[in-house]
């Protein structure tokens, strides 16, 4: 409770009006890097086999696995980890997908050897609110249109 960043930025101000302090861990997280808004699927034809790729990481230990959802989090399937898997390090994941041209809500959800599972936006916001500057590890959603455009959306209830 001595340095300025600890008081005004790294603390997570919750809806109760009180803030979580000394909150240092980089929580379990992941993002799909292909496709993404900058690298979309406008060049795919129905039937093309495409590799969905991404990165997962956790400050609580080592990434154990990553699940992928095509329908905004209702159903999930396991992706495979690629390359080196080390504690507190970028971990690649991959999933071979046959492109069917239909719109989808693409998500990745990582989990680690410290029993953390990446929360949904709702699960995260219910506990830490939205006013913390850091600690944003909720599941990221790419909306893929039937044209293959990709944009960032949130699934909320």
């Amino acid at each position: 409770m001595v340095c300025k960043e600890e008081t005004s930025k790294y603390t997570a101000l919750t809806a109760s009006g009180k803030a979580i302090q000394h909150f240092y861990a980089n929580e379990v997280n992941s993002v799909i890097t292909y496709p993404c808004p900058e690298k979309d699927w406008k060049d795919l034809e129905v039937g093309d086999l495409v590799e969905i790729e991404g990165l997962a990481w956790t400050g609580h230990g080592t990434i154990k696995g990553v699940d992928i959802s095509f329908d905004g989090g209702k159903n999930w399937t396991e992706a495979s980890l690629k390359g080196l898997v080390l504690p507190k390090a970028w971990t690649r994941f991959s999933y071979m997908h046959k492109y069917d041209g239909k719109p989808m809500l693409l998500q990745s959800r990582s989990y680690d050897d410290s029993d953390n599972v990446q929360p949904t936006v709702n699960q995260e916001k219910a506990v830490v609110g939205v006013e913390g500057v850091y600690h944003r590890n909720a599941i990221i959603t790419w909306q893929v249109t039937d044209m293959g455009e990709v944009s960032n959306v949130q699934i909320r209830s």
């Binding site: 699940d67 006013e131 909320r156």
Partner: protein, 386 residues
């Protein structure tokens, strides 16, 4: 070998005993523990020396690597400049609110605004409503910009910061932004006094908002900021480590955690516990990018095959290297007499030879094409040699 094993067993017993004793003698189990994990909720991994750490331990020999030396007492003294909430570590010196006002106007206001009111992209230092509810919580800090609310919580020194000594150390070490560490201790006390005064604070019942008020080490340590108790988990006292460990262990309750549901999942949470998910666009999503987003299908250009023979492209890739000329002894494409001769054995036999191989030609010419594709290539070669 036997002796070595015995030695390890004995050492293990001694280590286990000593760690039990260590645990019994102190009330804490340390930052990294073999079974309780790290204090921040993470797991730990064994090191070669029986200790645990949050990282995989590098077991490579470090012999011959120069890791520097132990710092001297004076070097540590030069680095050890932090000040604790109780004021220990603060240097001697003093400065008045009046001097702080002048310094602030000259060096700080350009970013932080007049009277600490905040500037474009730079933190507001004073202002905000310090009023508390009956539980001692600063009311405006409960604002969350969610579900349509646009009122932000104001995080100024007066409404949010827990400890005043932070202000002194941060200004001294990091401000002004363009030339940090340029202020003397006296000047830093003066600016600290001015900012505290702008927040309407007092020391021992004495109002600071007076140009003649002089701040020093003793007075700064006595300033109690309104949001002193607005933070958790507890980090003070003998149970601090256990409190922090317990807090970060219960992640679903305290910092948000997911569940690994695989099918038919319902998303919990949200305002009235609604479960029907909606898709919301990101309000501030960046769209002004280079190259600009395109909103049309962007397929690779298709080759216009037109009336071209379906076997031609495959022939170019698989057969042409030998069949383009008769240099390899194969019937050359375009050589009418050679192909007439070849076809005397019957089309089916030509197909068979092309699939099974003949003479110097390996089966299918060494390609991985299907039988039908091979036949298509043969058809093309015959067609092109008429």
């Amino acid at each position: 070998m036997f002796k070595l094993d015995r030695k390890f067993v004995t050492m293990g017993v001694i280590l286990a005993l000593s760690s039990t004793l260590a645990m019994a003698s102190s009330s804490t189990i340390g930052i990294y523990h073999s079974t309780s994990g790290a204090i921040d909720g993470g797991v730990t991994y064994p090191r070669v020396d029986g200790e645990y750490t949050a990282y995989k331990y590098n077991e490579q020999s470090t012999k011959g690597v120069n890791f520097g030396r132990t710092p001297t007492a004076n070097e540590i003294k030069a680095w050890d400049i932090d000040a604790l909430p109780d004021g220990s570590g603060l240097p001697e010196g003093e400065g008045s609110v009046g001097l702080g006002d002048e310094l602030y106007e000259a060096q700080c206001a350009v970013c932080h605004g007049d009277f600490g009111g905040g500037g474009e992209g730079y933190p507001q230092l004073a202002g905000g409503n310090q009023a508390k509810d009956k539980n001692g919580i600063v009311i405006t800090l409960k604002n969350q910009r969610i579900y349509g609310s646009v009122d932000a919580p104001k995080r100024t020194v007066g409404t949010y910061w827990p400890v005043a000594t932070t202000l002194f150390t941060y200004i001294r070490d990091a401000m002004p932004y363009a030339h940090p560490k340029s202020l003397s201790n006296d000047e830093t006390y003066a600016i600290t006094a001015y900012i505290l005064a702008q927040n309407g604070l007092e020391v021992d019942g004495e109002d600071m908002d007076d140009d003649d008020f002089v701040l020093n080490k003793e007075k700064l340590a006595k300033v109690v900021l309104p949001n002193r108790d607005g933070f958790y988990p507890n980090i003070d006292g003998p149970n601090a480590q256990e409190d922090i460990r317990a807090f970060f262990a219960d992640r679903a309750k305290n910092i948000g955690a997911g569940t690994r549901c695989m099918s038919d999942c319902k998303d919990p949470g949200g305002p009235e516990g609604k479960t029907e998910a909606t898709v919301m666009k990101i309000k501030y999503e960046m769209s002004d990018v280079t190259p600009a987003y395109a909103y049309a299908k962007d397929l690779p250009p298709k080759k216009d095959k037109g009336t071209e023979h379906p076997g031609k492209e495959a022939y170019e890739q698989n057969c042409a290297v030998c069949h383009k000329t008769d240099a390899m002894g194969a019937p050359a494409v375009g050589d009418k007499s050679a192909w007439t001769e070849t076809l005397k054995q019957g089309l089916e036999k030509v197909y068979e030879n092309s699939i099974k191989g003949k003479g110097g030609m390996p089966p299918k010419g060494g390609s991985s094409a299907s039988d039908d594709e091979i036949k298509e290539m043969v058809d093309y070669m015959i067609e092109a040699s008429k």
